[in-house]
Structure formats: structure tokens, C-alpha cells
């Protein structure tokens, strides 16, 4: 006995389409055996002309009396799913139609409609509360755009599942209500309703959901897998990062070794990151030292450094918000009076801050957003020139 599984349509309330689907499957030799929660089970046997009818049942269990009554009219019980029972009868027996009064049949769907409408309402309320909570957490978080761009928003998979579940319940409630209204108006169920389109649309929606669910579940792992930290080479690299040597322009400066993790000097390294909203991201830092030169406050040997964050975002419209969030994130809330917004032909949005030997630039150009913090004696103009050069590479 060969069992063939077919994906179960989620719109189970479309009685006519299901009945004609089962009938057409029987013609191809696939006889309905069971409707599972994911698959419909068919048994492969000889093709046969069989009529199928789906009946909403009143009780939790189908009664012996009902089964017997139907059997006396040549309708055999096949299986049950939810509040529906499926009966079949070979065409040659010419069994009387199960339901001969659409208005009466509408009553059989009343209990089901009530259950589904209540569930749909409950699911909608839960979904709205959940969306409200996410919205709340997003904006309690002081840097929502930064979290969004870096892909650190709450794992979207559970939300997808809940939204899909709610969508299914609402569709079911609307579908059952519409079916009941048609029956109440005296329109009988079309037992030969075309089912191919219904199945295609249904499978398409299910597949889109499955793909979305897999992708959203996989994103954190993709992000982790694509993250890579490398040691910053001394020479030029093909990465849009402002280099310390380009700012300092000193032949005396050498690299200042920092803490090592593995083989990588963390103080002179760059990390590539990926997210949907910003497929190219870099974090970079460099430390140099100029022997023979001292800090002006005589605190030791002059040792300039840079720290940068680079984003190539998908939607340039997010760039200003991202810049504002970077300002917030890098602790600028305490020195906001020193922030200076400048008009500059090389940038769409530019904010700088200069505090003795620490200079910071927050810049946006097209799709490119950069934050550079430099600690040293080079002029702001030199720093700006370098940022402009690099941001042009990713801004277009």
C-alpha cells in the first residue's frame, strides 16, 4: 500500500474546492485517507470515480448515529480534520446528496464560525500587543536606526509566525462567514469547484512564508558567518577606511602594537560585517607612535590613533538618522554643545566635533555613512579631505 503525501491547503474552509480536489485525485488513483496538519495522505490504488462531501459537525466527535444515517444513504466516513468530516461514495451508487437545503447547511457552520472569529480576534489582539511591544522597545532604544541598520532588531522569525497565524485565522473567519452567507442566501456548495488555482495561490503563499521564515531564521547565522576581522596591513588596501598614515603624513610614525587576539593585533585591525540594510560595513582602528615626539602635555610619546565605522546602506534616506544615532551611540550626549553642523560640497550631511586633540566626524554622502574619531594633532581639514575621499567610494 503506497501512501502519497500532498501539502495540505491552509484554506480548509473552501469546502467545494476540497471536495472536487479529492474527487479528481481519486480519478488519478489517489484515494483520500487522512488530512494531517501539514500533509494530506492519499493511498495509491486503481483510479475510481468517487464523490466526496465535507460536512461541518456539531459535536466534538462524529456520532455513531450520524455515521449510520450517512452509511444508510451510501456515504462512508473517510476522515476528520478540525470540525470537518469527510465522507465518500462511489459514483455508481448514485447516493442522494448529503445536503439538500443550503440554508440548513449554513447552520452547521455556525459553531465553527464562532470559534474561528473568536480565535482570529484573540490572535489579532496578541499580534497588535506584540507589534506595540516591539515598537516600544525600538524607541526606548535610543538608537533605533543604528540597531535596524546593523541588524540587531529582535529576531523576526517568531513575529513572522504569529503574523502568518493571525493572517490564516482572519482569512478563515472571513472565508467561513462568506460561505455561510452564500448558503443562507440559498446558494448550494459547488462540489465541482475548480481547485487548481486555489491550490496554486495557497501553495505560493505557504512557500513565500516558508522561505521568509527560513531566511529570517538564517540571518543571524549569515551575519555571524560573514563577519570577518583582519589585521590592518601597513600598505594601502582596497577598503573604504580612513588610514592613520594618510592623516598623519609622517614618515616617522610606526605602528603601535596593541592587544593581540589570536594572530590579529586588535588595535590595528578592521572587521567586515554584513546586514540586510547595510550589506557593507566596516569597523576599523589604527594606532601609531612617533618616537622622538611628545604629546604637548608631556604625557608621553606622541601616539595618534583612529577609530572608524563605515556603512554602505541600501536606503540613502536613512543616512541622516543613522548619523544622529552614531552621535548618540558614541557618547556625544555630554558634549553636544561642541557639535558643529557644516555645509560641505563633499557631504550631504556633516557634523564635526573638535575637543583639543580629539576630532570626530559624522558624515553622510549618498549611501555612505561614516564615523571617524581621530586622536592626534593633524588638522580637521586633512581629516575631512580623507573622509570625503573614502565616502565617495561607497556613497554612489
Amino acid at each position: 500500500m503506497k501512501v502519497v503525501l500532498k501539502l495540505r491547503p491552509s484554506n480548509y474552509w473552501r469546502i467545494g474546492e476540497h471536495e472536487s480536489w479529492f474527487t479528481d485525485m481519486a480519478k488519478e488513483g489517489l484515494h483520500l485517507r487522512k488530512v494531517g496538519s501539514i500533509f494530506v495522505h492519499f493511498i495509491k490504488e486503481k483510479p475510481k470515480e468517487t464523490r466526496y462531501r465535507i460536512d461541518a459537525i456539531h459535536n466534538k466527535e462524529i456520532t455513531f448515529e450520524q455515521q449510520q444515517m450517512y452509511a444508510e444513504s451510501d456515504w462512508s466516513f473517510v476522515t476528520r480534520y478540525g470540525m470537518f468530516s469527510v465522507f465518500s461514495s462511489p459514483v455508481e451508487l448514485n447516493a442522494p446528496e448529503l445536503h439538500t437545503d443550503p440554508e440548513e447547511q449554513a447552520y452547521t457552520l455556525k459553531a465553527l464560525e464562532k470559534t474561528i472569529v473568536n480565535s482570529a480576534l484573540l490572535a489579532t489582539i496578541i499580534t497588535l500587543i506584540l507589534i506595540g511591544l516591539i515598537y516600544f522597545f525600538l524607541f526606548v532604544n535610543s538608537t533605533p536606526t543604528l540597531s535596524f541598520v546593523e541588524g540587531e532588531i529582535i529576531q523576526p522569525l517568531p513575529l513572522f509566525i504569529i503574523i502568518y497565524f493571525t493572517y490564516s485565522l482572519i482569512s478563515a473567519a472571513v472565508g467561513i462567514r462568506s460561505l455561510r452567507n452564500k448558503l443562507k442566501e440559498g446558494n448550494a456548495i459547488d462540489h465541482a469547484a475548480p481547485w487548481k488555482r486555489m491550490r496554486k495561490v495557497n501553495l505560493l503563499i505557504s512557500n513565500v512564508f516558508i522561505v521568509l521564515a527560513i531566511v529570517t531564521a538564517a540571518i543571524p547565522y549569515i551575519q555571524l558567518g560573514m563577519k570577518e576581522t583582519l589585521e590592518m596591513p601597513i600598505n594601502d588596501i582596497d577598503v573604504p577606511i580612513v588610514r592613520l598614515s594618510d592623516i598623519e603624513q609622517s614618515t616617522e610614525m610606526v605602528r603601535k602594537k596593541d592587544s593581540m587576539r589570536g594572530d590579529i593585533d586588535r588595535g590595528n585591525s578592521y572587521t567586515y560585517k554584513w546586514s540586510i540594510m547595510a550589506p557593507t560595513q566596516y569597523d576599523a582602528q589604527e594606532h601609531g607612535i612617533v618616537y622622538g615626539e611628545e604629546w604637548k602635555d608631556a604625557s608621553g610619546v606622541y601616539s595618534p590613533s583612529t577609530y572608524s565605522k563605515v556603512y554602505k546602506i541600501i536606503f540613502p534616506s536613512m543616512s541622516e538618522n543613522l548619523v544622529d544615532d552614531l552621535i548618540e551611540w558614541h557618547g556625544m550626549f555630554e558634549g553636544k554643545e561642541k557639535l558643529l553642523q557644516l555645509e560641505h560640497s563633499s557631504f550631504d550631511y556633516l557634523i564635526i566635533k573638535e575637543d583639543d586633540e580629539t576630532k570626530e566626524i559624522f558624515a553622510a554622502k549618498g549611501k555612505g555613512v561614516m564615523y571617524v574619531r581621530y586622536h592626534g594633532y593633524a588638522e580637521m581639514d586633512i581629516l575631512l579631505k580623507n573622509v570625503a575621499q573614502q565616502i565617495r567610494l561607497i556613497g554612489e
Binding site: 445536503h99 439538500t100 447552520y107
Partner: protein, 114 residues
């Protein structure tokens, strides 16, 4: 959904009518066909649904139940509901008498023309 007065479905009306004489469900389908002069051939699904519904509403009761064979009888409440529905239908038919008068007018005007 239980019955709460108002217009009955055709199926409910005929089941109650058929049960004016107590009957078991085996015979009920045939009785309904007889009572409706062959116009109504009620399906088992419809019949089962109506029986469950009107039993819950107290319009019929089980006069015999030995587990396998059940005999249904209409209750006084059922009779009242049936009578009330009959009166409603009779009033509808009565109101429709103008259709018949229309026929008469038409035929008489035809005769006059001839």
C-alpha cells in the same frame, strides 16, 4: 443554532410536519417525501442537522431510544411553532391572491378583445 421563532427553513418545516406522527429516522426521509408529495427528497446530512437542531430547541423529543433505534415525536412547543409557521405561510399565500386575480383580469380582457 437553536430555533428562536421566525421563519423556518423548508427542511425544518417538513421534518416537523412529518413528525406529527412519531417516526424513527429510518422512515423519516420517506415520510418527508410522502408529506411533500414527492417534492422534497431530503439528504441525510440535512435531516441529521435539522433533527439535532430542533431537538436542542425542544421542538421534538425522543419517545423511544434503545440505543440503536430512536423514535422522534413532536412536542407541544413544536406543534405551536409549526402552527405558527403554517399561519405565516398561509398568510403569504393569501396575500398572493392578487396574482390569481391578475390572471382573471388578463383572461377576461382577452375575451373582451375577441
Amino acid at each position: 443554532m437553536e430555533y428562536n421563532s421566525g421563519p423556518m427553513t423548508e427542511a425544518m418545516y417538513y421534518v416537523l410536519l412529518a413528525l406529527m406522527n412519531p417516526s424513527d429516522r429510518y422512515r423519516l426521509m420517506n415520510v418527508i417525501t410522502e408529506v411533500s408529495h414527492g417534492r422534497v427528497n431530503m439528504g441525510p446530512g440535512t435531516l441529521y442537522g435539522v433533527l439535532v437542531r430542533i431537538q436542542k430547541s425542544g421542538l421534538i423529543t425522543l419517545s423511544e431510544d434503545d440505543g440503536r433505534r430512536k423514535k422522534y415525536t413532536i412536542t407541544n412547543e413544536g406543534k405551536e411553532a409549526l402552527q405558527s409557521e403554517y399561519n405565516r405561510l398561509a398568510a403569504l399565500v393569501n396575500d398572493g391572491i392578487i396574482l390569481k386575480e391578475g390572471d382573471v383580469d388578463e383572461s377576461s380582457s382577452k375575451t373582451e378583445t375577441e
